[in-house]
Symmetry: C2
Subunit: 285 residues, 2 copies
């Protein structure tokens, strides 16, 4: 399995694992975003993932060579928004692109350090035509028309942008803290075991440990903290997983950032021999 295939498999394995409280999975669609939108993105994002993994036409060695990271984001978003499902994997791309470029977590840390102002501008251009909000009310929110000017004026790199967002966005925070939760998600997968039971287990452990910032943005901190507590109760055997899932679905509570980090964790774990299908064979070859 190539690194790009590992990234595609990670996107596929995350969305098909169930039951995951509140998220689209193989037995739950939302009205406008359905299972097949997520799977289409995993298939159709490939050229951008290849660009992320490649040193690119500019030649040059080292993790930062090739098409700029910002350009890769723009391509990934373009390839995966040509359908009616909207945002499926934008957060996952924020993690997968530097991981693919750098090869592993230490490499990705180096890649994000080398991002430029142009990467930040490309990133904003990518998201300007899709309905994603990173920092509502902030002049650096991707939906704010003044954002490009502000980034140029302040000379912000894409790493600076993520740093600016870190308090409100656990995916952006990964760029700052060395992909801490990505590493943890991979460790949880190794610990909870192979296949989709492993994915569900790692998902619940992450959800119980960290307040999902996507839920904070959509429903406020109180609801997000309630979800975190309840995930812990499911793990402790005091709350039924299926019931918790049904409650989240009914309330429209979708731990989307946790899902993004699980995808990055599956990508790492697959490279370390975690078995996606419990076949007893190493998943890498």
């Amino acid at each position: 399995m190539t690194p790009v295939e590992r990234a595609q498999m990670a996107m596929m394995l995350e969305v098909t694992a169930s039951p995951k409280p509140g998220n689209v999975d193989r037995c739950h669609d939302y009205d406008t975003t359905r299972l097949e939108h997520f799977l289409a993105s995993a298939i159709l994002a490939r050229p951008a993932l290849e660009k992320a993994a490649s040193a690119g036409a500019c030649g040059g060695a080292g993790p930062g060579a090739g098409a700029g990271i910002g350009e890769v984001f723009r391509e990934a978003v373009r390839l995966t928004t040509d359908h009616s499902g909207g945002n499926t994997h934008f957060g996952a791309f924020i993690l997968l692109v530097p991981l693919l470029r750098g090869g592993d977590i230490p490499g990705a840390i180096q890649v994000v350090r080398e991002t430029t102002v142009e990467d930040a501008l490309e990133f904003y251009r990518a998201f300007s035509h899709v309905k994603v909000r990173m920092l509502p009310g902030d002049p650096l929110d991707v939906a704010d028309p003044r954002a490009l000017e502000a980034i140029r004026g302040r000379g912000m790199t894409l790493l600076d942008v993520m740093d600016h967002s870190r308090e409100h966005d656990m995916v952006a925070r990964e760029w700052i803290n060395g992909f801490r939760l990505t590493r943890r998600a991979a460790d949880e997968l190794h610990r909870t075991g192979c296949g989709k039971e492993g994915v569900v287990g790692a998902f619940l452990r992450l959800l119980a440990a960290e307040t999902d910032t996507f839920i904070v943005k959509e429903h406020g901190r109180e609801v997000a903290d309630e979800v975190r507590r309840k995930a812990g109760e499911v793990l402790a055997g005091r709350l039924d997983l299926a019931g918790f899932d049904a409650e989240c679905i009914a309330r429209g509570i979708n731990p989307g950032s946790t899902a993004d980090i699980i995808i990055a964790g599956i990508y790492i774990a697959l490279g370390e021999g975690w078995e996606w299908d419990c076949s007893g064979k190493e998943s890498t070859k």
Copy 2:
């Protein structure tokens, strides 16, 4: 969407559409073959699908140029059996490979006419290490060790092999009769409509019209004819689809050849503007 992406999307859209009586779908796994095996095959088969679509390193124009069709089958089988799920898409590859090489149905008809004895030998080599039976009891069954010798001795091309299997295998029959059911599946998709409802509708219509030869091999002709009749009753509103699906699942009845033909039909229909996600946009670009 490139032709290869259309093929991958077709594999994904077929398996995620539900409820389809008896088959693996997003809410039904079999013990050893699960949804994620089918989706992994759609992702991991890509290099073989690219080879099928490409004129190949040998240069040369025309639909028959490039890596031999038999070689492409061998590659596709190799890439998609490195997991515990076994046969997921072998029948689909028998249809998709000539369709990708030829571009469309008239092109595929030309491609299958140009297959060679070496293509037949490669095809048999591909299937020799996996548990697939095409003609149980026949010296040309892919599991029979004498098959390679028999093919060489008789000078059979891959088209001859499919001709030999046509009575017992509706997928092989497509090579002989000009991809008649593939065309019909695409027409049914245009007629029944966009998205997964369209896939389920086309699947039921095909199942009601043609006795599934995979069911014949597994359960005998009587059971296969019963399934065909019952699919017609579902279409006529006299039988509940969910109940029929549950009955098939309980009895282990899996209309696998119909699914293969639906995949080929989705591939064709996507190229003709059929909307996989009911977005109102053309699916080709």
